[in-house]
Assembly symmetry: C2
Homo-oligomer: 401 residues x 2
């Protein structure tokens, strides 16, 4: 990111040229809140890439969108936040298919000739219930009419994909060569009450092949969304999509595209962490000195998922012994006597033993950075997580019905 | 267990012949509560076996006791509940060694000729602080004088190893052939505020070699304590010991010894679950129909550790979608469309889809049994766990200092 590039949080998927978006309340949510979002790529190109949940139990829209993406093209993404459409069997898959068909018809009527095979579908909400298709189908026609150009359409869409999120998440990167990457996101891990899923749609007006998009997206997600771990739970519906319109007529170098996509993903991942379920502390867990990056990542994730570490942080308790116990059970190389730990830069454990003043370190602030140095090699990785609070328990123990 | 065998909860380590035990307040805990326990094997034999934490960060007493156990003999076990003596470096190891030496001297003075190499040491409490040896050493002499025969000594010892436990845990198995197995336990996982550890001491008056004891102990722990998973956190101090006095002069068949040790371990594991941190529900997670038992165990553990499943159960919420999401990310073979789930015998998911009435299943009781049938093979395993409650967060977010 050079000095003349710019990353902003006030624009999203419609910041790049060639995209329209909308968000409406279609009546899928009983609350009447916005629940249907649309992002349309008006071209001239429509290359695309996607990354999906690793959960073996995949929602119908994930199965559908994975299949669509094999073609490397996407004309539009339709997203609903009123139900996950997961564990709904063949009927649920037919609902997804019907939604894509309906959108293809509506977009074609509106002047953008499209087939269902160029339309991705995303869903988020309670697992296990069929969607109210009597709301979804009319909603699809309505939202095509609501599509707006400019930034407001993107913001409406970012609102319409929210479940337990308290704020919409948007980011846009403006490259000095006059091409852009935009994005929106919702969720973090599995959200209460069981409103599954992280959904992210990224857009760019750069000229790029599906292969280039795929490469940029995988590199970015592996370092951002894949390293965000609120509660260790991987949803049935996680989806990250990247659509390219080519409307800027600029063909960036791969490394510039990589950097811009990474910057937007990193910003969105930070916003997801900050708005996670019941969060009172934003926590970074860094493992360095591991034998390689993979082991550093496994170690950082083990600490970030440890309930005892997370509750200690909720209590602003510099209980470093729990960090040692958590890293000690991770399936990685380590020598207990070489481990050092710091909290927000204050050494609490040096060479496997407590440091002077370790029990008095002040963790009352909202940002906590735990650094664990294994002193074995050069591997380093950081996981973003949160504390485990009463708020998390409260939100996630509420009735699903 | 034949009809004339008997399992009781009112006796512990002194139920078998040939054992004495005691528990005292030595001043290691600032609260003045009992904090030092002793179990002595008066023989005639002193074969023993032990199972220890898999955590790579091992407390000094674990390192010590593992070394002692290579000899296959134990004359005594000294346990303190006022500090884990973990992450305390060479000084902490010397403290453990000095404790064993002191006990060997006191027992020899008392008439039981013993060396430090026949004494196991167990510790539990906050990780990272040195023990107050000015309390421990006089305590060791005092407790030898306090040793009582009969059942009360065992119960005193069971009290003295408690940290955040609310009740002592004891069990004894009386075989109709006139030999016995007794045991005591404390803790479950890592306990707040960071009072690490599950400690278990088992005794038997059967005649058995160290190899037979080791075999019985490993088989029993793999099916009981290893399948108790309150918060996924593995302590630095976990220790399970089995001491045999041979005082009954009965040599049981291996399968009978196995069964008796398993029965006592199973009873103690159940008591640990029932008294775990912040528990409001006792939860069994069974996976059946896996391709083998190992995969069933991995799957059951994944569900038992899932924060969203555990908070849903705290809320008495039959949110079966979270169970599907949790099992779906486990690294085991499964076909989503073949998975069925029941809560307390009520089908909530059949063939990967919701069952009629699933949202209305009543989970308001204190005992919840989740059964997940993968419909692939004969593998089956059960994990004991608890819900994730406000109480758990409260206890574990309290200051360590």
């Amino acid at each position: 990111m050079t000095s003349s590039d710019k990353l902003v949080r006030t624009q999203g998927v419609t910041a790049p040229l060639g995209f329209r978006a909308a968000g409406i309340a279609a009546g899928i949510k009983a609350t009447g809140k916005p629940d249907l979002a649309l992002v349309v790529n008006e071209g001239p190109e429509c290359g695309a890439a996607g990354v999906f949940t690793r959960n073996k139990v995949k929602a119908a829209p994930v199965l559908w969108s994975q299949q669509v993406l094999t073609g490397g093209r996407l004309r539009a993404v339709i997203l609903n936040s009123g139900g996950a459409n997961a564990c709904t069997g063949p009927g649920g898959f037919q609902d997804t298919h019907a939604t894509a068909e309906e959108l293809a018809k509506a977009l074609s009527n509106w002047g953008t000739e499209t087939g269902a095979g160029e339309i991705a579908v995303c869903s988020t909400g309670l697992i296990g219930d069929r969607l109210p298709m009597d709301k979804v189908i009319p909603g699809v026609t309505e939202i095509v009419h609501e599509m707006a150009g400019g930034i407001s359409g993107g913001t409406d869409a970012a609102h319409a994909i929210m479940t337990t999120d308290t704020v919409p998440k948007e980011a846009a990167y403006h490259h000095h060569d006059k091409w852009n990457v935009g994005g929106m996101a919702k969720g973090a891990g599995m959200l209460a009450p069981s409103l599954a899923t992280m959904l992210v749609v990224l857009t760019t007006d750069a000229v790029a092949t599906p292969e280039q998009l795929d490469s940029a997206l995988r590199k970015a997600t592996s370092r951002t969304f894949d390293r965000l771990d609120v509660d260790g739970s991987c949803s049935t519906n996680d989806t990250v999509l990247l659509l390219a319109s080519g409307a800027s007529e600029v063909t960036p170098a791969q490394e510039d595209l990589d950097a811009a996509v990474l910057a937007v993903c990193d910003e969105l991942a930070g916003q997801l962490m900050a708005d996670a379920e019941g969060v009172t502390k934003r926590v970074l867990v860094t493992v360095r000195g591991a034998v390689d990056e993979d082991q550093a990542l496994i170690g950082a994730r083990a600490v970030a998922r440890d309930s005892l570490v997370k509750t200690a942080i909720f209590g602003s308790d510099p209980n470093w012994g729990r960090v040692l116990a958590a890293i000690g059970i991770a399936p990685i190389d380590l020598e207990p006597d070489r481990i050092s730990v710091s909290f927000n830069g204050n050494p609490v454990c040096v060479g496997g033993m407590g440091a002077p003043g370790a029990r008095e370190v002040d963790l009352s602030g909202a940002d906590i950075h735990i650094v664990i140095d294994l002193d074995l090699g050069q591997g380093e990785a950081t996981i973003r997580t949160t504390d485990l609070s009463h708020g998390y328990v409260e939100e996630n123990s509420a009735y699903s019905s």
